[in-house]
């Protein structure tokens, strides 16, 4: 049985976290807040029933959104929910940021820029294309990847902060960014 005050604290922490980082998925919340998965599920259900949090499945992840976003002062529109959930994952986030900052790019240049393997890149490009977030044009060596709506990515990046980096994230980034 969960003690009342602790349950209240967890629910509050969960609500605050989801309000601050909409689109975050269940396992990430568990990792960041240290709430056991069963307890987290229970609180998500309760907060959902009260109309405070909306949950939807995307790409095999249970993504959580506040019913009304502080940033929008309204429920988050569906296209933004899709982008937010993608921006909470490292590889799609790196891909979208790279395409947003540098414009259309070849798959090879993209793979080099975000330092990922060919199969991993191909998997995420296929997924993002099927969601309508990016488009691939041209053939063979002239193939280019571009964002379908850079303005929407810009708005989401402006309105919603990225998840804070943990010490392990910074360690991985430091070593990954070293070039021979």
């Amino acid at each position: 049985m969960i003690p009342g005050n602790r349950a209240g604290t967890w629910a509050e922490a969960l609500l605050t976290f989801v309000q601050r980082y909409p689109g975050v998925h269940l396992r990430e919340i568990r990792r960041r807040l240290g709430i056991p998965i069963g307890t987290l599920d229970y609180h998500l259900y309760r907060l959902g029933r009260e109309g405070l949090i909306a949950v939807r499945f995307q790409g095999g992840y249970k993504c959580c959104y506040p019913a009304v976003s502080d940033a929008e002062k309204a429920p988050i529109p569906e296209p933004k929910k899709l982008l937010l959930a993608l921006l909470r994952h490292p590889v799609p986030r790196a891909l979208l940021l790279q395409l947003y900052l540098d414009g259309p790019s070849s798959p090879v240049a993209l793979g080099d820029a975000i330092a990922t393997t060919g199969p991993n890149l191909a998997y995420f490009l296929r997924r993002l294309e099927s969601m309508g977030v990016l488009a691939r044009e041209g053939q063979g060596s002239h193939r280019l990847v571009r964002l379908t709506d850079p303005k929407a990515v810009h708005e989401v990046l402006l309105l919603y902060p990225p998840l804070p980096e943990s010490v392990v994230d910074r360690f991985v980034r430091f070593w990954s960014e070293l070039h021979p």
Binding site: A115, V167, V168, F171, V172, W175, S176, L178, P180
Partner: protein
């Protein structure tokens, strides 16, 4: 001038720092497995072993200065080589 206490603390610190960095390295390796992170974690493991072994030899074992210096030099050299190789692979 007697440096024995300072030396004990220094090797204790090396062992502790090595263990912390090794823990971080292993967590990072689990999150994003790559040869580079594996080598970085291995280098920090060497630092942790160096601190522990030399610290043991110094405080408990009573090993002579030449042995301790030799061990330190070997561990440092191997750790530096491993870290250098880590910068060459991805």
């Amino acid at each position: 001038m007697d440096f024995s206490t300072l030396t004990n603390v220094a090797f204790g610190g090396i062992a502790l720092l090595g263990v912390v960095l090794l823990g971080l390295g292993l967590l990072a390796l689990r999150r994003a497995p790559s040869p580079r992170l594996g080598l970085a974690a291995a280098a920090f493991a060497l630092v942790a072993v160096e601190g522990t072994l030399v610290g043991y030899g110094l405080i408990v074992g009573g090993w002579d200065a030449v042995t301790l210096l030799f061990l330190t030099a070997v561990f440092e050299a191997v750790a530096l080589v491993v870290l250098f190789v880590a910068t060459l692979v991805r």
